[in-house]
C-alpha cells in the first residue's frame, strides 16, 4: 500500500489568546511513500515528524492537504477506519491485561462482517506474537517484561490486524543502546517479512540511516530532503541536512570562493570549477574527507588523537571552523607523527560540500 501525502499542512492555533501566534507544525508536506518500504522521518525535536505520523494515523486532522492510502482518500477517515497499526513511543500497552489480551484487544473490537471467531483470533494473535518472537510470554503482564519485550508486544498488537500501514513513533528511544541495535534489526526483519509499508519517526540519524529505505529529513515543519539514506548522506541539499546526518558530525568551515578556488582562511584548499566568486560560503567536510599530506593546503593545530583501532580520529582546531574542533577520520597507518603540533590535510573533493553563505543551500561544483 503506497501512502501519498499531498500538500499536508498542520497549524496549531496559538494557546495564548492575546498573541495570535500560530505554530506551523508541518508545512506543505508532499511525498509519496512507495509500497512496502520502510520510511524514516528524521529531524530534531519540534520538526513536525511526529505530527506527520499522527496525521497519517488519523489521530490528528491536517489543517489542509490530503492523505491517500493507495487510491483511497483517507483524510477524513477516523483512525480505526484507516487500517493502520500504531506503535507508541512508550508502547501504551494496557497494564491490566496480559500480553495475550493486549494482542487480542484490536481483534475483539472488530464488528460486523470482520468479526472473528475466538479460535481465529487466538490463532492470529499467536501468529503475530511468533513474528516478533514473544509467543512464550503470552501470559505475562506488561510490567513483567523488559523494555525490548514490551516493544515487541506493542509491534505485535499493531500488526495483529494486518494493517495497511504500520506507524512507529520513536520506536527505539526507550531502549538501552544494545537493545536498540538489536531491535532496529528486528524492525527491519519484521518489515521485510510482512512487506507492510512502514513509517517511523526518529531523531536519531544513525537509526534512521541504518534501517530505512527512504529517509525524510525535516526541520521546523519543512521537509529538507528526501532520499535513500546513502544518497542523502553523500549529497546533502543544504547545510542543515549535512550537519544533521553523520557521526561524527560534518566539519563546517567558513570560506570564500575566488577565481574558482575555494579558500579556507588564506589557503586555497580545493578547485571548485564553475562556482561564482563569493565572499562567504560554508564548507562542509565529512570526517572521512581528509587525507594527511605534508603538502596539503589545510593546516590545523592538533588537539589530540583518538585511537579507534582500525582508524584514528584526529581532533584538531582551525580558526575558520564553526565547530569547536575539526574531527577527521584517518587510516591508522597514516596517522600524524607523535608529538606533531600541526597537521596538513588534502581534501577529497566528493566529501566536500559548499553551501551558500546566506541561504545555506548547496552550491554544486
Amino acid at each position: 500500500m503506497k501512502v501519498v501525502l499531498q500538500n499536508l499542512t498542520k497549524i496549531f492555533p496559538s494557546r495564548n489568546k492575546k498573541s495570535k501566534e500560530e505554530v506551523v507544525a508541518v508545512n506543505d508536506f508532499d511525498f509519496e511513500i512507495p509500497d512496502g518500504k520502510l520510511v524514516g522521518l528524521l529531524g530534531p525535536s519540534g520538526c513536525g515528524k511526529s505530527t506527520t505520523l499522527y496525521m497519517i494515523s488519523g489521530l490528528q486532522k491536517p489543517t489542509s492537504g490530503r492523505i491517500f492510502f493507495g487510491e483511497d482518500d483517507v483524510t477524513d477517515l477516523p483512525p480505526e477506519k484507516r487500517g493502520i497499526g500504531l506503535v507508541f513511543q512508550n508502547y501504551a500497552l494496557y497494564p491490566h491485561m496480559t500480553v495475550k489480551q493486549n494482542i487480542l484487544f484490536p481483534l475483539q473490537n472488530l464488528k460486523g462482517a470482520d468479526k472473528m471467531t475466538k479460535e481465529d483470533m487466538i490463532k492470529q494473535a499467536y501468529e503475530a506474537a511468533k513474528l516478533v518472537q514473544i509467543d512464550n510470554l503470552m501470559d505475562r503482564k506488561p510490567n513483567e517484561l523488559s523494555g525490548g519485550q514490551q516493544q515487541r508486544v506493542a509491534i505485535a498488537r499493531a500488526l495483529v490486524k494486518m494493517p495497511r500501514v504500520l506507524l512507529l513513533d520513536e520506536p527505539l528511544s526507550n531502549l538501552d543502546a544494545r537493545l536498540r541495535l538489536q531491535t532496529r534489526e528486528e524492525i527491519r526483519r519484521i518489515q521485510r517479512e510482512t512487506k507492510i509499508t512502514t513509517v517511523f519517526v526518529t531523531h536519531d540519524q544513525e537509526e534512521a540511516m541504518s534501517i530505512s529505505d527512504v529517509i525524510v529529513v525535516m526541520k521546523l515543519g519543512v521537509v529538507q530532503q528526501i532520499g535513500a539514506p546513502q544518497d542523502v548522506y553523500d549529497s546533502p541539499e543544504n547545510l542543515f541536512v549535512a550537519k544533521f546526518l553523520g557521526t561524527p558530525p560534518i566539519n563546517v568551515f567558513t570560506g570564500r570562493v575566488e577565481a574558482e578556488k575555494l579558500y579556507i582562511g588564506d589557503a586555497a584548499v580545493l578547485d571548485v570549477p564553475g562556482v561564482k566568486d563569493s565572499e562567504k560560503v560554508f564548507v562542509g567536510v565529512r570526517p572521512e574527507g581528509f587525507i594527511i599530506n605534508e603538502n596539503g593546503p589545510l593546516e590545523c593545530r592538533i588537539f589530540g588523537v583518538d585511537v579507534m583501532g582500525r582508524d584514528v580520529s584526529v581532533v584538531s582546531t582551525h580558526e575558520a571552523s564553526l565547530n569547536p574542533t575539526v574531527r577527521s577520520i584517518i587510516d591508522a597507518d597514516n596517522r600524524p607523527a607523535p608529538g606533531a603540533e600541526t597537521v596538513r590535510f588534502l581534501l577529497k573533493p566528493h566529501k566536500v560540500f559548499l553551501f551558500d553563505g546566506e541561504t545555506e543551500k548547496r552550491i554544486y561544483f
Binding site: S57, G58, L59, P78, P79, E80, K81, I84, G85, L86, F88, N90, A92, Y94, P95, H96, F105, P106, N109, L110, K111, R157, K161
Partner: protein, 338 residues
C-alpha cells in the same frame, strides 16, 4: 531532606566516640521518642484509651458511669452483647443502616464515575464545573439537610381531608405536579404519615448527593493521571466508547474505585448526621420518631441510659465494618489493577 541528612550526620559523628556529656548522649538516644511524645500523649488520651475503655465497658454488664462514680460495681460478662443483639430495635437500625449502605454506595459510585468521565471529557468551563460539583463537599451537611428537608417538606395539611390547605408542597412535589399536571401525584416524603419507603428514598437521594463530590474528586484525579495514549491506542484499534469505558477506564481507575467504595461503606455504616439533617434528632417523621434510626444513632441513644450496651453496640458496629472492609479488600485483590 536536609534536616534528615543533618540528623544522620550528627548521629554518625557522635555515636562512635560518644559525646562526653552523658546528658547529651542519652538525649540522642531518646531524641526520636521525645519528638513524638506530644502526638503520642494526645493519641493515648483521646484515641487509645477510649478504645480500651469501650472494650472494658462493653464487658461490664449494665455499666453506667454515674453509678460507677457512686461506687457501684458491675458484673463481668458478655450480657451487654447478647442484650443488644436481641433488641428488636437493634435489628431495625441495623436494617436501615445496611439498606442505606447497599443502595447509596453503588449508586453514588456509578454516578460519580459517569460524572467524572464527563467532566474529564469537556474542555470549556472545566474548572468552573469541577468547582460546582465540589461545592457540596465544603458545605455543612446539616445545612444541606435542612435545604433538602425544605425541598421535600409539605407545609399545611396534606391531602386526605376535604379542607386541605397546602401552603407549600416543596419543590420536588411541585415539580411532580408540574410534569403530571395532577396534585394527586404529590408524595408525602417526610411529613407525618409518610411511608418508610419514601423516607428512605429521600435519604438515598440526600446521601448520594452528599457523597458525590468526594468520589468525583478522587475519580477525576485518577482519570487525569491515566495516560492519554491508552485512549489513542484504543481509538486506533477501533474500540467503541462503551468498551473503552469498561475495558480501559474502569480497570485503570480500579484502585480509586476500590478506595471510594471502601471508604463509602465505612462512611455508610456510620451514617447519622444526614438523617438528623432531614428529620432532626427524632430520627424519623413526626409521629414515628426513631423509624430511620441508624447504628450510630442507636449507640448515641444508649450512651446515657446504659454505657455498657452502647459500648457493646459500638464494638458490634466496628466488627461489621471490619468484616465488610475485609470483603471489599478481598474482592479488590482480584479486581483491582495497581
Amino acid at each position: 531532606m536536609n534536616a534528615v541528612k543533618d540528623v544522620k550526620v550528627k548521629n554518625k559523628s557522635k555515636s562512635p566516640g560518644g559525646s562526653k556529656n552523658p546528658i547529651v548522649r542519652s538525649f540522642d538516644k531518646w531524641k526520636a521518642w521525645i519528638y513524638l511524645l506530644p502526638a503520642i500523649i494526645l493519641l493515648l488520651i483521646f484515641t487509645v484509651w477510649p478504645i480500651i475503655n469501650t472494650l472494658r465497658m462493653s464487658m461490664l454488664v449494665n455499666y453506667n458511669p454515674m453509678k460507677a462514680v457512686g461506687g457501684a460495681t458491675f458484673k463481668f460478662g458478655f450480657e451487654n452483647f447478647t442484650k443488644v443483639v436481641s433488641y428488636p430495635k437493634f435489628k431495625q437500625v441495623l436494617g436501615t443502616t445496611m439498606l442505606l449502605c447497599v443502595t447509596t454506595v453503588p449508586i453514588s459510585t456509578m454516578l460519580a464515575l459517569i460524572i467524572s468521565v464527563c467532566l474529564n471529557a469537556i474542555k470549556p468551563f472545566k474548572r468552573f464545573l469541577q468547582t460546582i460539583f465540589f461545592l457540596p463537599y465544603v458545605t455543612n451537611s446539616i445545612a444541606i439537610g435542612m435545604v433538602f428537608a425544605a425541598m421535600f417538606n409539605i407545609v399545611g395539611s396534606f391531602l386526605g381531608s376535604s379542607n386541605e390547605a397546602i401552603q407549600s408542597a416543596g419543590i420536588i412535589n411541585n415539580m411532580l405536579g408540574f410534569f403530571t399536571g395532577n396534585k394527586d401525584f404529590y408524595i408525602n416524603w417526610i411529613n407525618a404519615g409518610s411511608s418508610y419507603t419514601s423516607n428512605i428514598i429521600v435519604m438515598i437521594i440526600y446521601i448520594v448527593w452528599n457523597a458525590l463530590p468526594f468520589k468525583i474528586l478522587i475519580l477525576l484525579g485518577g482519570l487525569q493521571s491515566v495516560n492519554k495514549q491508552y485512549y489513542e491506542a484504543a481509538k486506533v484499534d477501533g474500540t467503541s466508547r462503551v468498551r473503552t469505558f469498561w475495558r480501559i477506564t474502569v480497570p485503570m481507575l480500579s484502585p480509586m474505585i476500590a478506595y471510594v467504595v471502601i471508604t463509602g461503606f465505612i462512611g455508610g455504616f456510620k451514617e447519622y448526621s444526614s438523617i438528623v439533617g432531614i428529620f432532626g434528632d427524632s430520627m424519623g417523621p413526626a409521629g414515628d420518631a426513631g423509624r430511620l434510626n441508624t447504628m450510630v444513632g442507636f449507640i448515641y441513644d444508649a450512651i446515657d441510659s446504659n454505657a455498657g450496651r452502647a459500648s457493646a453496640a459500638a464494638l458490634i458496629l466496628f466488627g461489621i465494618i471490619l468484616i465488610v472492609t475485609l470483603i471489599n479488600l478481598w474482592v479488590s485483590k482480584k479486581r483491582v489493577h495497581y
